[in-house]
């Protein structure tokens, strides 16, 4: 029932990686309570779907593949009926599919690498969200997540993006997704980061912490949005 959309009109911004990581982490945290997660793959390359079909993928992740412009709204609505969380991995292009998915989101995670080209596309995506908010007359919560960062230091470009977002009142995740072998390894070995064998993959522990921090911040943002929605409803009443 909570819809999280990963958006960027550029490929390679980290949407699929972030989507897989969050799906895996939410599935891990919700396993005992049988909380179901739907993963909608609306990217024609179907990389999220390939991971979800591998051995080791948590059993409480339900995959919906080959979602398209025509089917995306139905796919989200159907997934909302069967799952507590719906995660949508979109194609890295500026398309109507992105626009439709954003319109259903409880949280849009707009992705960007610390690069000029990525930031240009990030701005394009945020402009779309803001136009939709205006047209629909309701807020569409969105935050920027910077991916493929260096864990040791902030690059000049990374600082520049943070500054640009601050100047334009755009919320940015405190955490970033670092460039990590473990994030790529889940596509090779299947499953989630916590299940990787540290003998096979380096930096599993730090990668696990990175994912937990990301998931914690997503939850915090969703909680804050719920509170402001309730306050808005009360004000309307």
């Amino acid at each position: 029932m909570t819809v999280i959309v990963f958006a960027s009109s550029k490929g390679g911004a980290g949407k699929t990686t972030a989507c897989r990581l969050l799906a895996g982490e939410f599935a891990r945290q919700g396993k005992k309570k049988n909380i179901q997660i739907s993963l909608i793959d609306a990217d024609p390359n179907q990389h999220s779907a390939k991971w979800a079909k591998m051995d080791g993928c948590p059993s409480n992740i339900n995959l919906i593949q080959n979602s398209s412009e025509e089917s995306i709204l139905d796919d989200i609505d159907d997934a909302e009926e069967s799952s507590a969380f719906v995660l949508v991995d979109l194609e890295g292009t500026a398309s109507m599919t992105v626009a439709h998915a954003i319109s259903r989101a409880d949280l849009v995670i707009a992705m960007s690498q610390p690069s000029e080209d990525d930031e240009d596309e990030l701005i394009k995506t945020i402009k779309l969200i803001r136009r939709q908010e205006k047209a629909l007359g309701r807020p569409i919560p969105h935050s920027v997540l910077i991916s493929r960062t260096n864990a040791a230091f902030l690059t000049r470009m990374h600082k520049a993006i943070l500054n640009d977002m601050k100047e334009n009142d755009v919320d940015v995740f405190e955490c970033t997704l670092n460039e990590r072998a473990a994030f790529k390894a889940i596509r090779t070995y299947g499953g989630i980061v916590h299940d990787l064998d540290p003998k096979q993959v380096s930096g599993v522990k730090n990668a696990s912490i990175n994912v937990e921090k990301f998931a914690e911040e997503v939850k915090r943002k969703l909680k804050a949005n719920m509170v402001s929605n309730e306050e808005r409803s009360l004000a309307h009443a």
């Binding site: 939410f26 319109s103 629909l136 912490i209 998931a215 914690e216």
Partner: protein, 120 residues
């Protein structure tokens, strides 16, 4: 004693997933909302990437040509009649007229041939 020490970290994750599941939405899809979303998408350069469906022109059943000479003004009369009767073409008017003539003269064997042609 374990060979490696457990790393302590500072993540204050006290939010249960159950606490952030939003209530079922009552939002209903409307064509107005769809139009607004699509308009915002167009302005933002997020166009449709669906393959454009080719418009296939309906094949005309009138493919055999018969040139007949008419009295002066008959061609215009036929056009006026077609317009008056609300038919889509002069061919249709002629076909209906032929059908009516066959009925009036009671030509049952030709009627069958006529219907076969019309319905094919």
């Amino acid at each position: 004693m374990p060979s490696t020490r457990e790393v302590k970290h500072f993540i204050d994750d006290d939010i249960d997933l159950e606490d952030i599941i939003s209530k079922p939405k009552t939002r209903k899809r409307s064509s107005v909302e769809r139009e607004l979303i699509e308009e915002a998408a167009h302005v933002s350069n997020f166009p449709s990437r669906e393959p454009v469906k080719k418009k296939i022109r309906k094949k005309s059943p009138y493919i055999n040509q018969k040139n007949i000479k008419m009295r002066f003004g008959m061609s215009e009369l036929l056009a006026d009649l077609t317009k008056h009767l609300g038919f889509s073409s002069d061919q249709e008017t002629i076909e209906v007229a032929l059908g009516a003539l066959i009925d009036k003269k009671g030509l049952t064997s030709i009627k069958e041939q006529y219907l076969n042609l019309i319905n094919s």
